[in-house]
Symmetry: C2
Subunit: 417 residues, 2 copies
C-alpha cells in the first residue's frame, strides 16, 4: 500500500533529519488540505460530474407482477429497474443509466468487500389520494449522502443531479408506488467502492446505484410498542467516528449485540455511550423522551448532534420542527444520560419514549432493559390497549399527513416527482 501512496500524494516535503537531541521541529503545513475529487481528478485532469441530462433509460422486457400489498416484508421486494452510474478517478462520472434490476457483477477484490467503503440513504415516495407521487424532504437526504461520501473519501457529485436521476427512476417504476395510504416505495441510493485492490486506500473507482422497494406500514394493525435493551457493553458510535454519517460501517457493530438483546426478548438496542452512559440511538433510529423535567416543565427531549454520535435523521428534524411550531411544551436537543432517565422513570415523570426513522416514522417504546432491571415506559394512560402514547400518535399523524399531501407542511417539505 505504501508504494501506491506515492502515486497519489499531493506533495511530499523532504524532511531534513534532525540530530538525536534537536529532534522536535514545527510542522510547516496546516492540517487541512482539500481533497480534490469533484471537478479535477487527483491526477490533475478535469473529470466529468454526474449529469442528469445525460441519463439513458433501457426498459426491461420482463416486467414483474406487482406483489400483494399485504405480503410485503420490509426491503425484500424490488421493482423492475435501478439507477446506476460509475465513477473512475481518471474520467469522473459515467452517464447515469436506468436499467433492469439485476445482480451486480463485482470483482471479489473490490474495496467494498474488504474495507467497508459504502454509504447510502433511505427515503420514500408516497402516492396521494389524487394519484400524485411525492418525496418527503429529499434535499435533506441528498445533502446527508454528500456528507457521508466526504467522510469516507469517496467520490463527490452534485446532489441535485442525483435527485433528478432518482426522480426519473421513480417515474419509470411509478406503477410500483402503492396506492394505499401507509404503503410507499422505499428508495435506497447507495455508493460503493469497486477498485479491485487489497490495499487500504481510498477508491479509484466506485458504483452509485439506486434500488426501489415497495413497503407496507411498519405496524399494519396499529402501533406496536417495543422493548429496548440499554446496551453499554458494546459501542455503536464514538466521537471522531462516523455516527453522524449514514455509512454501512455504523450498522455491522450492532448486529451481535442486537442478537443478544433479541435473545432476552428485546426488539432493539438502546445505544448508551461511555462512562456517563449517554443515551444516543435506538437500533438505527433517533430517540425521544417526553417528560416533565426536573424544573417541572413539560419537555420533548432528544440527544443533540453535538457529539457526532447520532444520525441527523430527517424524521428527527421534522418531529422537532413540528413540535416546536405547536408551542405547547419545551423542545430540547441535549445530552441525556441513563441515570437521569432512570430517575425520571422512578419519579413517574416520563410520559412517553419513542424513536423516529424513515421506515417506521414513529416507534413507541414500552420498556427499557437496563442492567438487571426493566424500566416500564407509559404508552396511553387513558387507553392501555393502545400501542402508543398521545404525543407519538399525534406526531405520526402529522408527519404522515404531510408525506401523503393531506396536510400542508412547511415550504419545500414535499416535492412532486
Amino acid at each position: 500500500m505504501l508504494r501506491r501512496i506515492g502515486l497519489r500524494r499531493v506533495s511530499v516535503t523532504a524532511v531534513a533529519r534532525s540530530s538525536f537531541r534537536d529532534c522536535i521541529r514545527t510542522l510547516p503545513t496546516s492540517h487541512s488540505i482539500p481533497y480534490l475529487r469533484s471537478t479535477y481528478s487527483r491526477l490533475g485532469k478535469p473529470v466529468s460530474g454526474l449529469n442528469a441530462s445525460k441519463l439513458s433509460i433501457s426498459l426491461t422486457s420482463t416486467r414483474k407482477p406487482l406483489p400483494k400489498l399485504e405480503d410485503l416484508t420490509f426491503g425484500t421486494t424490488f421493482t423492475d429497474h435501478m439507477l446506476v452510474a460509475r465513477w473512475d478517478e481518471g474520467a469522473g462520472w459515467s452517464d447515469p443509466k436506468i436499467i433492469a434490476f439485476e445482480p451486480l457483477e463485482i470483482s471479489p477484490a473490490a474495496l467494498v468487500f474488504h474495507v467497508g467503503l459504502e454509504c447510502f440513504e433511505g427515503m420514500k415516495a408516497y402516492r396521494t389520494s389524487s394519484g400524485k407521487i411525492l418525496l418527503f424532504r429529499p434535499d435533506q437526504n441528498m445533502a446527508r449522502l454528500r456528507k457521508s461520501v466526504d467522510r469516507l473519501a469517496m467520490p463527490a457529485f452534485d446532489d441535485t443531479q442525483l435527485l433528478e436521476c432518482i426522480k426519473k427512476l421513480v417515474k419509470v417504476d411509478e406503477r410500483w408506488v402503492p396506492e394505499r395510504k401507509g404503503y410507499s416505495l422505499y428508495l435506497r441510493p447507495t455508493l460503493i467502492a469497486t477498485t479491485p485492490s487489497l490495499s487500504v486506500d481510498p477508491p479509484s473507482s466506485a458504483l452509485l446505484f439506486c434500488i426501489l422497494s415497495p413497503v407496507g406500514p411498519y405496524y399494519p394493525t396499529g402501533f406496536s410498542a417495543v422493548r429496548v435493551r440499554a446496551t453499554f457493553e458494546y459501542t455503536r458510535a464514538f466521537p471522531g467516528g462516523t455516527g453522524e454519517n449514514k455509512v454501512g460501517i455504523n450498522y455491522a457493530p450492532g448486529m451481535m449485540p442486537q442478537v443478544r438483546a433479541e435473545g432476552e426478548g428485546f426488539q432493539q438496542c438502546l445505544w448508551v455511550w461511555g462512562e456517563e452512559r449517554v443515551v444516543t440511538e435506538v437500533g438505527a433510529s433517533n430517540f425521544f423522551i417526553f417528560w416533565t423535567n426536573e424544573s417541572g416543565e413539560k419537555e420533548l427531549v432528544t440527544p443533540s448532534l453535538d457529539d457526532g454520535l447520532i444520525l441527523p435523521g430527517v424524521t428527527r428534524a421534522s418531529v422537532l420542527h413540528l413540535a416546536q411550531s405547536w408551542n405547547e411544551f419545551k423542545v430540547t436537543e441535549r445530552r441525556v444520560c441513563m441515570p437521569e432517565l432512570v430517575k425520571a422513570v422512578e419519579e413517574g415523570r416520563v410520559m412517553e419514549c419513542f424513536s423516529t426513522g424513515t421506515a417506521a416514522v414513529i416507534t413507541p417504546i414500552k420498556a427499557i432493559g437496563y442492567e438487571s432491571r426493566e424500566l416500564a415506559i407509559p404508552l396511553d394512560p387513558s387507553d392501555p390497549t393502545q400501542g402508543a402514547g398521545p404525543l407519538a400518535r399525534r406526531l405520526f399523524d402529522e408527519v404522515v399527513g404531510i408525506q401523503y399531501g393531506e396536510v400542508g407542511g412547511p415550504e419545500g417539505w414535499v416535492v412532486e416527482v
Copy 2:
C-alpha cells in the same frame, strides 16, 4: 425490520405492564444468550458445517500468464482460481468449490453493500529455496477470522476445515507462488453477508471466498522508513467496538484522515485515542517503540490488547515472542500515551519505532507529526543511509528467515501446503 425479528427471536417474554409508580422490576434473564449457528440453524433444523472433504475443483480453461515479478503492485494481480462456499440459514454451508477467479454476481440489495457485514484475513504462502510452499502460523489467522465472524453475528464454521480448503487452493495455483525470496503469494479469505434485504438484521445467507495475489517485497530496494501523523481528531477504534477484530468496518473510518495526512506529506496515520492520547496502531499495522524507559531499562513496548482497540496481529505476536526469547531487553505490552512518547523523544531515549504487519513485516518509522510539531525518530545511528534501525532489521531478518524456512522457528509456526 421489526416484523422480521419476530421470526428469529429465541423467545419473547411477555412483560406485564407495571403501574406508573411501580415501574422498575428485575430482569429475569442473564445478558448472555448463545447464538446458535454452527450446527443448528436459528430455526432449529440441523445444518451442514463447512466440509473440506467435499471440496470440488473446476480448473479454468484459460490460465493467465504469470506477471513479471518486478511489475507487481500490492493486491492488484490475482491468480487463476478462487475458493467459494455459500451459507444459508436453513441449509448451512454448501460444499466448497475451487473455481476460476471471476466477478461475483451479487444482488444490489445484499447486506454487505448496506450494513458493512464483512470480515477477512491476510496471510501469505512462501516458497523455500528447495521449492516447498509454507504458510506462516495459519492457525492464528483462522482463529482470528472465527472471532471476527462471531463479533459480527455472521455464520460460524470449523476453521481447520477452511484451512484445508485454502491449502488446496494454494496447491491448485502453486505456479503463482513466486520463486524469489521476498516475493510471496498473499491469501485473502473473506466472508460477506449476501442476504438481499434492506433490513438492519444479521445475515440469513453469506458467501465465503478466498482469492490469491502474488506480491513483491514492500521495500524492493531496502527498507523505506515512513513519516506518520499522530491522528486524534478522528477515531479508528474504541472500547466496545471492533478494533480487535479483522473486519472491513475498521478501515473505512481511516480513509479520509489518511488522505489528509498524505496531503501533509505523511504516509500513514498513527492512531491516537481519547483524551489521554493513547497510541494504538499505525495505518493498519501494529506499533512498537524500542527505547530506554524512565527506569533506565532497554525496553521494546507495544500497546496491549486489553482495551480491545488494536488488532492482535500475527506478526506482532511473533515479534514479541522472538524478542522475549533473546532475553536481551525488557519486552512489554502496555498502554503508551503521546505525552510519554514525546517526553522520551525529547530526552533522546527513543532508539527506534516501527510497525508490524503481514504485508510489510516491519515498517520503520522515521518521524511522527504531532499537533504542530514533528518528532524525529532515529533509524540506524551508525549508518544514517540505512532505512531502518538495527532492531527493526534484526526482527525482519528473523521473521522472514522463518517464513522462508531458512531459520528454524518455534514449533508449528511454518506449515507446509
